[in-house]
């Protein structure tokens, strides 16, 4: 897999929980394609299957059937993993979740450093990179603070810095602005746009927030576990706002 060709491709992904009478189909026959550097919104009501799709693409859940490719690599074929998923997550995927899930006993900079160090980046280089990221996200002044000392917006920016630490090819965000006010929420969304532009990172965001849809290149809409539509966002309004 190379950076320039990387894209995410899902083929007929289906996820069924339970069995027999207790069987629940969370996602059914979903096929999609994400290009390099693309920022994609995943829309849909609760229970639509957004989180299921996100966890399958994020390699933290396996599909019941269907295949998932990252670049040229077949990553999962049905429930069977074809690669070391944890190593893939470590090297190629960044996560931003609704709850920031920062490690509570690490400071802001240590949380970012941790993502680098588990990817074999040495101490000093990791620290420099972490500080650089915090600076670019305008939260460097809080680098020595523990998560509980930070505001919601600051925590979310630290979480984004952690997600970006290893220059991932794919950033997955699940309701990243749910706990933020509209201004902060928009700032976070714009940050994803910037990251995609500057680093060529593909960003997939599951969101209910329709106010920032203009930021996205493409919108995937889901309902009842099915992908209803894939449409491009209104380019003119996007250009005007970005």
């Amino acid at each position: 897999m190379t950076a320039s060709t990387l894209a995410i491709r899902g083929q007929s992904l289906t996820k069924i929980y339970g069995s027999g009478n207790a069987e629940v189909t969370a996602m059914e026959d979903v096929s999609f394609f994400l290009s390099t550097g693309e920022v994609v919104a995943l829309l849909g009501p609760s229970g639509a299957g957004k989180s299921t799709l996100l966890t399958i693409v994020g390699l933290i859940n396996s599909p019941t059937s269907g295949r998932l490719f990252i670049g040229e690599d077949l990553v999962t074929d049905g429930p069977a993993a074809k690669v070391n998923l944890r190593a893939y997550r470590r090297r190629f995927i960044g996560y931003v979740l609704q709850k920031t899930n920062l490690i509570p006993f690490l400071t802001a900079v240590e949380n970012v450093r941790l993502a680098l160090e588990i990817n074999d980046v040495s101490g000093r280089a990791a620290r420099n990179r972490a500080m650089e990221l915090l600076k670019s996200l305008d939260v460097v002044h809080r680098s020595g603070n523990l998560p509980y000392m930070l505001s919601g917006g600051e925590q979310q920016r630290v979480a984004i810095a952690r997600a970006l630490a290893n220059r991932p090819r794919l950033v997955l965000a699940d309701e990243p602005t749910a706990a933020l006010d509209s201004v902060r929420g928009r700032q976070v969304m714009e940050l994803f746009r910037t990251v995609a532009r500057e680093y060529g990172t593909t960003v997939m965001v599951a969101t209910h927030d329709h106010r920032s849809l203009d930021i996205f290149d493409r919108i995937l809409e889901m309902e009842d576990g099915k992908l209803l539509s894939q449409r491009h966002a209104d380019i003119s309004s996007r250009i005007a706002k970005v």
Partner: protein, 403 residues
């Protein structure tokens, strides 16, 4: 970055208290081991220190420490005449309890065959050996007596002239050393009235015999002190200790003495074996079992603590897995904390124990072998405890963060 240390730094007070608790538990384990060792040392102390090669005791008995042994004192002379024997010393031991300064004073009296044995082998921390045939005593410091203290035992008053350290009996009573004659005096001390009654009874017994009627002078003799009556034996002693010339074949001497039908002989090792296998065996096994039980309990408690600490971090561990942390990172976090808990607990147990154990009424002996053994046990306990936490941590799915 060391996650274990970062987590500890964040929860320092709680971690310290946990380490303290584990330390207390380990201190009890250490103390039980010390009491166990103390019991063994107390049991074999005298046999090891007194410097006798052979213990000659009453026939078919197991010696003065196991049961009552009574042999005539003149056995000393018989043994001294044997080839290869340097010295033979009569030995008396028995417990007494008296009042001293309105407090009970319980001691194990040892009679030394003065002047051959003046207590030169005793580990004196103050004072001197016994230099007089009568009225001097050497006591262990556990008895709480000081040099120059005078204690009335029987009809006489004895002065403390020397103090020993760590000389106590199997029952934990301090040892008190007297000359053999003084020890016998104290043992066979009867009141004047009891002596008068016994003499009168003796006279009456003789009067009832034909010999009393035909030899009236015997009736008068019956009223004399026991020591003046050749027909009555001299006081018995507990054992006679034999020291051999270097190079003497012990087995040959033992074989010869064993041929005598009135005594039994034990070598020093046999006497020790009798003490450990017989006298203190039950207590030793009980302490050993109790200690094993404590180790099992410590393992369970420590495992639960580590498991609880892991449960508290389960969300963070899931997050670590989500961002791709290797198992070694997670394993290291739990294992290092478990080992550190064990280590700090051990250090606490060692230093606090060092301060507390000497205050115990009986000896607590912490030797290097036991410390190394316990350190290895703590290491294994820490690993086992971490195992439970690691099992829980490795079973966590990264998608728990999302849910």
């Amino acid at each position: 970055m060391n996650l274990a240390l970062k987590d500890i730094r964040h929860n320092l007070s709680r971690f310290s208290l946990t380490a303290l608790g584990i330390g207390m538990l380990l201190m009890i384990v250490m103390g039980m081991g010390g009491i166990y060792q103390g019991l063994i040392q107390e049991a074999t102390l005298l046999v090891d220190n007194i410097g006798a090669d052979l213990w000659v005791v009453q026939r078919e008995t197991r010696g003065p420490f196991a049961e009552i042994s009574r042999i005539p004192r003149n056995l000393e002379d018989r043994l001294k005449s044997m080839p290869g024997v340097v010295s033979a010393r009569a030995f008396v031991t028995y417990p007494v309890q008296r009042e001293f300064r309105d407090k009970p004073l319980r001691m194990q009296i040892q009679g030394l065959s003065w002047p051959d044995d003046r207590g030169a082998w005793l580990p004196l921390v103050a004072g001197r050996r016994i230099e007089s045939a009568h009225y001097e005593m050497i006591v262990d410091q556990i008895l709480g007596l000081g040099l120059g203290d005078k204690v009335k035992l029987g009809k006489n008053v004895y002065t403390v002239v020397g103090i020993t350290k760590n000389m106590s009996s199997m029952a934990g009573d301090g040892l008190a050393f007297f000359t053999l004659l003084d020890a016998l005096d104290i043992q066979y001390d009867y009141s004047g009235e009891a002596i008068r009654i016994e003499r009168e009874a003796r006279r009456w017994r003789v009067a009832k015999q034909d010999i009393g009627a035909t030899l009236p002078s015997l009736l008068e003799r019956a009223l004399l002190p026991s020591s003046n009556l050749a027909a009555l034996p001299t006081p018995y002693v507990s054992a006679v200790l034999v020291t051999l010339f270097p190079g003497t074949n012990v087995n040959t001497v033992v074989e010869k003495i064993s041929g005598w039908t009135d005594v039994t002989v034990f070598t020093r090792d046999q006497q020790n074996e009798l003490l450990l296998r017989g006298v203190v065996d039950r207590a030793r096994r009980q302490l050993g079992l109790f200690r094993s039980l404590l180790i099992v309990i410590s393992t369970i408690i420590m495992a639960l603590i580590i498991y609880t600490l892991t449960l508290e971090k389960i969300h963070d561990i899931a997050m670590l897995k989500l961002i791709g942390a290797r198992n070694s990172v997670i394993l290291g976090l739990i294992l290092q904390q478990a080992l550190l808990l064990g280590f700090l607990g051990y250090i606490f147990a060692f230093y606090v124990g060092k301060w507390v154990f000497p205050m115990f009424p009986r000896r607590v002996v912490i030797n290097a072998d036991d410390l190394i053994y316990l350190a290895m046990i703590v290491f294994v306990i820490s690993i086992l405890s971490a195992g439970l936490g690691i099992w829980k941590a490795l079973s966590v799915e990264p998608n728990e963060v999302v849910s």
